[in-house]
């Protein structure tokens, strides 16, 4: 005599939507022909969270790609440049000079030189936002950089914080996931509050996450919790910026530059409007790298 084992049908798990996922994409200018270009230069920014590749023709923007960085930096670099070249007919052999930048800059196998992200963001920011930009805030995936530059995009002062997730894309991804809000909707949702709530009190993403969970339990709607977090992030970042003295014009690069919730609150606290660019704020580093590549190739040919 044995007990019959009754197998209950397990509930099918609903598809786990990844709320932290932002759109990966590529673009190229179909009106330009790379075969007629004198110098084809490339910049590859291997960040800890995202990777971009930018291709310039004689210093003019031709193509770029933006995707998540894998665990293998050299492979991420290869994928980034291949995707940027996709559909253009370009191959690596046609690129005259490549500069690698970002966290994984020494791991770009086809790069001719590695240049720091600080120098590249200043240069890229100058191209994207114009020669009036003097203060650039780069809110990256796992770090935050405050850069002051001159009219040519040369660095005059900088400060980088890569010890702490507060003020980084990763911090925002944690919150998007916690609240089950797609990360690309976080900004607008946080601005939909009637009254600005007090910012979350903790300076730490780990504790802020617990604080947010408690606020949700207390009945706070999602948009209010997001507003509180965006406000805390903006405030924290301002304390970093103040250390290098903010001068206008001001611009925000990096993924969080696309988060209106953080951008608007930063603008309010600084009393400055952030410059807008027709280009994606995430490509600033790779763009600066490609511009350096162009300069260095021209220099190489003339020596």
């Amino acid at each position: 005599m044995g007990a019959t084992l009754v197998v209950q049908e397990t509930k099918t798990l609903s598809t786990n939507k990844e709320f932290w996922r932002w759109k990966e994409y590529r673009w190229h200018d179909e009106t330009l022909d790379w075969k007629g270009a004198g110098v084809v230069s490339a910049g590859v920014d291997i960040g800890s969270v995202s990777s971009q590749a930018v291709i310039l023709l004689d210093g003019k923007l031709f193509a770029f790609s933006n995707q998540r960085t894998g665990f293998d930096s050299p492979e991420s670099a290869n994928q980034a440049i291949q995707w940027a070249m996709d559909g253009t007919g370009l191959t690596l052999r046609n690129i005259h000079y490549t500069v690698g930048t970002g966290y994984g800059r020494v791991n770009v196998p086809f790069a001719d030189k590695a240049i720091t992200e600080i120098a590249c963001h200043a240069r890229g920011g100058n191209f994207m936002y114009g020669p009036t930009v003097r203060t650039i805030l780069d809110m990256g995936g796992q770090d935050c950089k405050a850069i002051r530059c001159d009219e040519k995009g040369k660095v005059e002062a900088f400060l980088m914080n890569d010890k702490c997730a507060a003020g980084t894309g990763r911090g925002m991804e944690v919150f998007a996931d916690l609240l089950s809000v797609p990360i690309e909707e976080v900004g607008d949702l946080s601005l939909s509050v009637e009254q600005e709530p007090p910012p979350v009190s903790s300076t730490c993403v780990v504790f802020a996450k617990s604080e947010a969970a408690a606020l949700l339990r207390a009945g706070w709607p999602k948009n209010k919790v997001l507003a509180a977090y965006c406000a805390a992030m903006a405030h924290r970042v301002v304390t970093l910026l103040e250390r290098i003295e903010v001068r206008k014009d001001f611009a925000i690069t990096g993924g969080i530059g696309k988060n209106s919730g953080v951008v608007k609150r930063l603008e309010k606290e600084l009393g400055l409007e952030a410059l807008k660019s027709p280009y994606d704020s995430q490509i600033a580093g790779a763009l600066g790298a490609a511009l350096f590549a162009y300069t260095l190739e021209v220099k190489r040919r003339s020596s």
Binding site: T116, V155, L159, N161, K163, C164, C204, T239, R243, I244
Partner: protein, 95 residues
Amino acid sequence: MIANYGYKDGSGDFFIAIDTDRCNGCGDCVPACPAGVFAVGEDLHDPLSDKPVAKVVEEHRKKLKYSCGPCKPDRNRPPLPCVQVCKPLALAHSW
């Protein structure tokens, strides 16, 4: 350029600011620091410049609070050896 090396975390702001325009690359700060926080070399953030300048080494950058701890007692703090030895006054601490 004012290069701020260090970090900010829940316990505070710990940055050493090096003014690379004032810095003449003399390297006096290197042996002056008992923890070996400094090195002189290529200015990595100004790729078109050849002038060697002082910087905080990567090994210490993210733990400056602890690296500089021995020179910063709670009371009766003497002048910091790195700041004292720098003739062009290119070094400053944020804490």
